[in-house]
Structure formats: C-alpha cells, structure tokens
C-alpha cells in the first residue's frame, strides 16, 4: 500500500494504521507530485556541487601539468584492491536498499536482512578508507609526501578529498543503521534513497579519479 494520494501534509489520521503484530516497520513513502520530502532532490544538488569541486581540482591539474617539473608516479597496486572493495560495497548497499524499498511495510526478517547488508556496506566502506590510508603509507615509505612533487601533491589531494567525502557517506550509513535499529524511530525511505545515491556516486567518482591518477599522475 503506497500512499499515492497523500494530502499535504499527511495528518496522523491519514497515516496508515499500526500493524497488529508490531514487529514490522512502516516506511513513510511520499508520493509525487506533492512530496514534501526534499532529500531526494537535495542529494542531486549536493552531487552537482561535489562534481563541480572535483572539476575544479581537475582543471587545476591540467594547468599545473604544463609546468616543467611534472614527473610520473607509480600507482600503489593497493588502490585497485580498494577500488574493488568500494564497488562491492555499492552492490551490498543496493541489496540492502532493495530489500527494504519493496513496500510500505517491511517484515522483521527483511528488515534484519537489510540491516545485515547495510552493516556489510559500512564495513566495506571503512575497509576502503583504511586501504586508502595504507596506500598513503606506502607512498610515504617511498619518500613521496604531499609536497615532494606536483604529482604526489595531486595524488594526496585527490585521494584525501575523496576519502573525506566517503567518510561523510559512512556517517550517513551509520545514521541509517541507527535509525533502523532504534526502538521508536521514524524512518524515512528517502533518507535511504539519498544515502544510496550518494554512495554509488562515491564509487563513480572514485573510478574517475583512479582513471585520472592512472593516466595523468
């Protein structure tokens, strides 16, 4: 049952009645066009801004590349492992998302399954960040620091800025897990939708950055 004719705003009387069993979670699904739930558009706006920031970093790279001191940087192979981890985490998140997004009411078993996949995603996300940190350590062990040469500068800037954004996604995942396990929490599907979109975007952004690192640094 999806509220397709929701009035604005849904008053408590119009909300679906509580399930008799009490072990299912209801999700408030806002139907378009009168949706007061802005997180879905908000996340796209945010993604637009992040894309713009990385476009600025990229153009800085192209300009800076013109100077005579451009060298070459051997990409730590660990980055590829991290890439696989991040891409898998997108799949696990999608499984979790689809499990819960099927209907308005979610059975306890589906909720548990969704939570499990969400936790796996969180763990993979943390693994990715830890892996990126290890890659930094490897570069540092070769004597390549932030200020060593322009290539290493850009490497740290790209991976660092992306890592910060991934940490934001990890915070969102942790928040979702908290909302789903909390005893009397209201849960909005749109928050999940937005988190999933953001997380997939982090994966896509990383692929782009890896390509840039691989071909330009």
């Amino acid at each position: 049952m999806i509220m397709s004719t929701t009035t604005f705003p849904p008053t408590p009387a119009q909300a679906p009645p509580s399930p008799p069993g009490g072990n299912a979670i209801k999700i408030s699904v806002r139907a378009k066009p009168r949706s007061p739930d802005a997180s879905r558009s908000g996340i796209w706006v945010g993604i637009f801004a992040i894309t713009m920031s990385f476009a600025a970093f990229t153009s800085a790279l192209f300009v800076r590349q013109g100077s005579g001191d451009w060298t070459h940087l051997a990409v730590p192979p660990l980055l590829y492992v991290n890439t696989v981890v991040l891409l898998i985490s997108s799949f696990t998140l999608e499984i979790s998302h689809r499990t819960i997004a099927r209907g308005l009411e979610v059975e306890a078993s589906a909720l548990r399954s969704s939570l499990r996949w969400l936790s796996v995603t969180l763990a993979l996300g943390l693994t990715f960040v830890a892996g990126q940190y290890l890659a930094w350590r490897k570069l540092a062990a070769q004597g390549l620091y932030l200020a060593t040469n322009p290539n290493s500068s850009f490497f740290y800037v790209f991976t660092g800025m992306h890592g910060l954004h991934v940490l934001g996604g990890i915070a969102a995942l942790a928040y979702l897990i908290g909302r789903l396990t909390g005893s009397r929490s209201a849960f909005r599907l749109s928050t999940f939708d937005a988190t999933a979109i953001y997380w997939h975007f982090m994966g896509g952004l990383w692929l782009y950055l890896l390509l840039l690192i691989r071909t330009r640094l």
Binding site: A38, A60, A147, M161, R188
Partner: protein, 590 residues
C-alpha cells in the same frame, strides 16, 4: 523493533528556551535575521575601514586617534603605513563582498522570505540551514581575528592573488598568519554558502504550496533561486582553490608558487606552480559572485517597484529569463578580469565577447523597469526611492562596463580608479541600494513595526547624492591614470588630483555618517515604531497574507493555496486595486 511514524520532513516543534529560539534556531526567519545582523556588523566595519583609507589618502601624515592601539606596527603613532593601508583595503573588500553583499541580499532576505513566498513552513533542511549560518559566523570571527594578531590582516586584496598570497610571511606583514586566517575564513564561508544554496534549491523545487507553479513565484524568489544555483557552483570552485592555497602556505606544496622566488633575501622552496591558476580559479568564482550580489538586489527591486507602481511589469517573465541568461553567461566571462595577466590575447577576445553579450539581458531588464515606470502612478516611499536609486546606480555603473569589457581599453584602464568606480557603483552600491530597499519594504513584516519614512527618505537622498559624489569622480581619476591601491600621492603627475580626492573623502565621510540615520531608524523602529499591519504596502505575494511578524511556522499550520500569478495589480479586487495570490476570487481586468 522500529515503529514508524509518518513524520514531516520540514516541520519542527515550536522551540522553547532562549538559545533554541534566538541563537541556535532552526527557524529560517531567525536565521535570515542572523545573516542580516552579521551583514550589518560587517558593513559598518567595512565602512569604517573605507573612512580610514579615504582619510589617509588625503591627509597621509595625520594621526588617527586610537589606531595605534589596534595595530602598533600598522599605525605607529596613529599614522597608517603603506602596508597597513593594504591591510585595510583587503579587509574592506573581503568583508563587503563576502559578508555583506552575499550575506544580506541572498542569505539574509532569501532565508527569511523564500519559504514564505512559496508557501512553505521552513527550509527543506533546517539543520543544514542553522549550520550554514554558524559556519559563516565562525568564518567572520576567523577573519576578524586578523585585526588583532601581531602580523596584522593580509595585504593581498580581496582577490588574494598568488604568489603574494601563497608564499607566507617572507612576503611582508600580514602575509603570515593574517593570510592564513583569510584562507581559512573564506573556506569556511564557502561551506556555509554551499549548505545555504543546497537548501534554497531543494526548498524551491520541493516545498512550494499547492498552486504555486514555478512561473507564479515572485521575481525575488526567482532571483534567490537562480542565485543559489550560481552560488552552488561558484563556491564549489572557490573552496578547492582555497584548499590548494592553504596547502601551498602550510604544507609546502607548489600549486600557485613559481620557481626562483627570492623574498626577504631567502630563496623560496617552491617550484613550478602557476600564479595564473589561482587567477583562473578565483575569477571563475569571482565573476559569478558579482551576480550573487546583484541578482537578489534585482529581484528585490522588481518586487518593490511593482508593489509601488500598482501595476505589473511590462513582462515579469522576460525579467526572469534575463536573470537566467545572466546567470548562464556569468560562467563564460571570468577571463575579463585577466586581460593584463599575460593570458593569450586571443583568449581575451573570447572572454570579451560573452562579457559584452551580458549587457543585452542587463539592458533588457533596465528597459523593462523604465518602460514599466512610464505612466505609473508610483507611491514614493523610502523603499521605492531606493529601488529607483538602484536602477540609477546600475545604469551609471554598468555603462563603464562597456569600456572595461574591451581588452584594448581595459589594458589602459586596468588597476586604475576607473575599475574601482565601476564595480563600486554597479555591484557594490547598487546591491546595497537593493538591500536598503528590501529593508524599508520588509522591515514591517520582519519586526511587526513600521520604519520612520521621513528619516528613510532623508537617508536616501544623502546616500544617493553622496554616492554619486564619491564614485563618479573615480572614473575621471582612472582615465587620467590614477592607479588604485596606492596609499598616498607623491608630488608627481597625480598631485593635481589631490583636491578631487579631498572632495571624495569629504563626500565619503558625509555619506557614511548618513548611514547612522539608517541605523538609528532601524533600532528605534524595532522598539518604538508604529505597529505594522499585516499588509502595509497592499502587496499580493504570500508574505503579506500572514501576521507581522509571522508566527514560528509561518502560516499557523494552514497550508496556503495559490490561485494567481504573483503580481495582480491594477485589477478590481475585493480589497482594492489588487488581488492576493491566495485569494480564490476571479480577476476582473480593467
């Protein structure tokens, strides 16, 4: 197990307690007023700095009482050093552009009125909104701290050109921690504005009341919406630029610093960086920033003018489309700030063309305002006077833009007072006139009390005439070759210009003093003003359908339904010559 409740995204309970209500408030109206208050603090500080600069320019050896207490190195014995003059200039520009021209017309009025004008109870993300203001506030404090550190404020101007801004304290006073504070402050400011823009866009797209189609939104709502789209992209570029600048300064990288720089007899340990890169990144933000300042003012002025003229504009739609095209073109013109930077002359031509193209939508808007004024029986109020003053400033300042947009003329005029006069009139004072117009217009709604109209008109006339006295001569000074950023004039070809500079300084002191009439009016009216009715100016948009000041949830829990375009004036309605947007009555024209 989690139990669900249907919860509304943007509704929050009425706040309790002083801190929740007035300090860390989620209410867009309180946040709007906080932005406005911060802008007020910044504008009076910035004005005081311009007084100091003008005073020093014409009386370079005069002691300024108490200035030594603020900076022992910058003003020994109360006399401003050339370096400290540059510090004052940098802080003036930074405060005015970021904390006044962005904060007041966009973040301030936008926060307060955008949700009301589209019939929403609050912004889409109230927590982001609160964060947006407090991050901006911290940015202000960080910048302000630069006055009190031994190093002093930075001297690199509000544009912080590299490598001067990137190399550190070897480059001179203010370029150590002063410049660090600047870069940190602007980075924080970007974060605040990004959060704000995100909120504006989502709110406009998702939270409009029933019947409020996009084209039924008032022109100022449109202006804030377009501005937030520009802001989202512009600040998303300035933030990375500032981060790279901070890395150059603090982590030893060389993004902007070229090889072989010797400063204070020390070879700088940097190589290969590109100073032009900073200019590109900065102006890619910097030119759209001009429209971030002026578009909301255009929106406010249109809104005020229509209400005062009691008739719609010749075409509100064309105004909106013009604002859109200005917003679009603003991304293609940043290079016109860099005609003398050593950029390829061919790219100068490429940047010159869209710059001249921008004059087309700007001229269309001006013609619509002027054409609509023809035959209008305008109600003269402080608000409408400032709106008319805006048009005057915008035209006078805009015309000099035609000259500067052409590389061949700009090479001669670049870095002279001509440029300073141009941007002060067209984006500085014009936007300030928009802010003042909005203040006189909306103050009754925001505070529940009327402002004093007589004082308001007095304020207008002194400010209007004073501004022309200050900035028109700037153009002349520029043409005869007076370079900007010089702290004093030696006895050379510029000596005959000193009497004119004295006139400008006196005009600046008088015009600045007139702003205290406004401040008095603002504070006095806030507490002693005549109580304001719900709709003092017979307006049609949604902000005039609710009490003054509005209750915490704007519409008292009701959900307005919109039946008409935003400006139904000159019609026969039940209340007079206008029909409110939320009135279901049929409109009889004629």
């Amino acid at each position: 197990m989690a139990e669900a409740s249907v919860q509304q995204a943007h509704v929050h309970a009425p706040p309790e307690g002083f801190i929740r209500k007035n300090v860390f408030s989620l209410d867009h109206k309180v946040i709007g007023k906080q932005y406005y208050g911060l802008a007020l603090l910044a504008v009076f500080t910035g004005m005081a700095l311009s007084w100091l600069m003008r005073f020093h320019l014409v009386w370079p050896n005069a002691k300024i009482f108490g200035l030594e207490l603020l900076s022992k190195n910058g003003a020994p014995g109360g006399v401003i050093t050339p370096e400290y003059y540059l510090s004052l200039l940098t802080m003036h520009g930074t405060l005015m552009v970021f904390f006044v021209l962005t904060n007041a017309p966009f973040a301030g009025f936008g926060n307060y009125f955008l949700p009301i004008q589209i019939g929403a109870e609050d912004m889409a993300f109230p927590r982001f909104n609160m964060m947006s203001f407090w991050v901006t506030f911290v940015a202000f404090l960080v910048l302000f701290t630069a006055f009190f550190i031994p190093d002093g404020p930075p001297t690199s101007g509000w544009t912080a050109y590299a490598p001067l801004s990137a190399v550190g304290s070897d480059a001179g006073p203010g370029l150590g921690w002063g410049q660090n504070l600047w870069a940190i402050s602007i980075s924080l400011f970007c974060i605040g504005q990004l959060l704000g823009s995100l909120n504006f866009i989502s709110t406009t797209l998702d939270l409009r009341a029933k019947g409020m189609t996009l084209m039924r939104m008032p022109i100022c709502t449109w202006a804030w919406f377009i501005t937030s789209c520009i802001g989202l992209l512009a600040f998303a570029v300035l933030l990375p630029a500032c981060l790279l600048l901070i890395l150059d300064r603090m982590a030893g990288t060389s993004f902007f610093i070229p090889a072989g720089l010797v400063l204070s007899d020390r070879l700088q340990n940097h190589a290969g960086g590109s100073p032009l890169l900073w200019q590109h990144l900065f102006w890619f933000f910097g030119h759209p920033e001009v429209y971030i300042a002026i578009l909301p003012a255009m929106g406010i002025v249109s809104h005020v003018l229509i209400t005062s003229m009691r008739k719609p504009l010749l075409s509100a739609k064309v105004i909106i489309y013009s604002m859109m095209s200005i917003g679009f073109l603003s991304w293609m013109v940043w290079g016109h700030h860099m005609f003398v930077s050593g950029m390829n002359p061919f790219s100068s031509l490429l940047f010159s063309f869209p710059t001249l193209t921008i004059t087309i939508p700007a001229t269309i808007m001006t013609l619509i305002w002027l054409g609509s004024l023809y035959g209008a029986n305008i109600r003269i109020t402080a608000a409408s006077l400032f709106a008319l003053g805006f048009i005057s400033m915008f035209v006078s300042g805009g015309v000099s833009g035609f000259f500067l947009a052409q590389p061949s003329i700009d090479i001669y005029l670049h870095a002279t007072y001509f440029v300073v006069g141009h941007f002060h009139m067209v984006m500085g004072v014009a936007a300030i006139f928009g802010i003042l117009s909005g203040t006189y217009f909306w103050f009754p709604k925001m505070s529940g009390r009327m402002m004093n109209e007589t004082l308001g008109k007095l304020h207008f006339w002194i400010t209007f005439i004073g501004t022309y006295c200050i900035f028109m001569p700037f153009h002349y000074l520029g043409i005869v070759g007076n370079v900007r950023r010089y702290s004093s004039f030696v006895n050379d070809y510029m000596a005959p210009l000193i009497p004119l500079h004295k006139f400008i300084t006196v005009a600046a002191l008088i015009t600045g003093a007139a702003q205290f009439i406004f401040l008095y009016n603002l504070i006095h009216s806030r507490f002693r003003g005549k109580p304001a009715p719900e709709n003092p100016w017979d307006g049609t948009s949604l902000e005039w359908t609710i009490p003054s000041p509005p209750p915490w949830n704007n519409f008292g829990g009701k959900h307005p339904v919109v039946y008409h375009d935003s400006y139904q004036y000159g019609v026969k309605g039940s209340k007079g010559d206008y029909v409110m947007q939320d009135s279901p009555e049929q409109i009889v024209t004629g």
